[in-house]
């Protein structure tokens, strides 16, 4: 399989894993209804189970993005033979230059901003000008961007 496709598959695999985790969260919720102390024997409390479900989507957006970033850095180092480590805010427009549409670049960059908010910001609400994404939306934007890169390296 060509590298680009392999990388896209890995991003898509995280999105599928999220679906599995969503199903697991549903099963867990049923289990907790039947036995609120179910987690005690496994080292966690009922509220941890609630937090697991609440944070599931955010957790997988962060993981999706990590897979995306790893792919871009692989491309940067091993296809473009660059030895530097630019921040993603610079790497995205550099890779998009003259070949990826501005809309697609801005979509991927908005996912980057949202991921940074999820990782670093402890306040409750995202800023008014921030776009937020489901796992499916983030996957679509990140895969679209990646799909515009050279196919193999």
């Amino acid at each position: 399989m060509i590298k680009r496709q392999q990388r896209i598959e890995w991003i898509a695999a995280v999105a599928r894993e999220y679906l599995a985790a969503t199903s697991a969260a549903g099963l867990l919720a049923t289990q907790l209804q039947a036995d609120p102390n179910y987690g005690d024997s496994h080292g966690w409390e009922a509220r941890d189970g609630v937090a697991f479900k609440t944070n599931l989507e955010s957790t997988y957006v962060v993981r999706l993005y990590a897979e995306f970033e790893a792919g871009l850095r692989d491309y940067w180092a091993n296809h473009l033979n660059r030895t530097t480590h630019p921040p993603m805010v610079q790497l995205l427009p550099f890779l998009a230059d003259q070949r990826i549409s501005q809309d697609r670049l801005e979509d991927a960059d908005a996912v980057r901003e949202y991921r940074n908010y999820l990782v670093h910001d402890e306040s409750g609400e995202p800023p008014p000008d921030m776009r937020t994404f489901t796992v499916a939306e983030a996957k679509s934007h990140l895969c679209h961007f990646f799909g515009r890169l050279d196919p193999d390296w």
């Binding site: 060509i2 680009r4 496709q5 296809h79 473009l80 033979n81 427009p93 550099f94 890779l95 998009a96 230059d97 003259q98 070949r99 990826i100 549409s101 501005q102 809309d103 697609r104 670049l105 801005e106 008014p128 000008d129 776009r131 890169l149 050279d150 196919p151 193999d152």
Partner: protein, 241 residues
Amino acid sequence: MPRPRREEFISDVRLSARMLQKPNVEADSDTLDTDAISRILHGAALWLTPKVVEHYDPDDFAEEQADQQNRLRLAVEEFRRIASQVPPDQPATVDQFMEGAERLRELIKVLGSIVLAEWVRAIDAVERNAEEWSAERAWRTRRVNKKMNESLIGPYEAPQLLIFAEPNLYVLDPVARFVPGAQGAFDFALQPSYYTISMYRDDNGIWYVHLDKGKGVANGHPVEWNRDSFLSCIEQLRAFV
């Protein structure tokens, strides 16, 4: 490198169009709570500002038809008038937001139609080149419309050019009018293949192709679009069959 003033203006309006499209701005205000309205009005600060049209100069659109020029000038003036009423350190009022959104939509409509018409002409010119050079070698060509959608210009159709350079099929495929560092891009691809040569139009309206396939845009060298580079694309892509 600084971009031409005309392109700066177009880019600023495009970005504002994108912000205006955001779902929270499009929501029905009758069903929103106070916090949501407050967030929307704060968010409007990003596009309801005279900065959006600060690069506008009527001279940059002197080649457009007179009625288009007038409509654009009027749309800019109307937008600037309402945007100037919003204090830079305060959110817009609901009335300012509503009127500002209406004015911006009108500006998007007028400017978008100008940009789209020019972009469609540019696509046609590139494909006519390729058709002419293909005909010289008795390669058959055919145009097939594809659906596209971009901020500012909205949904539109543009033709891909299929080139039957026996035994291979090539596709000259418009990617977007708005591309970082360029005023339009094409893919030149061989079917079936993952490999593509990127083409872009610079700020002077000159088209280039990134030859040295496999080295990427960053490492390849741009060559001006002409008969020789067209044939080089065909040759380089053929190597990937």
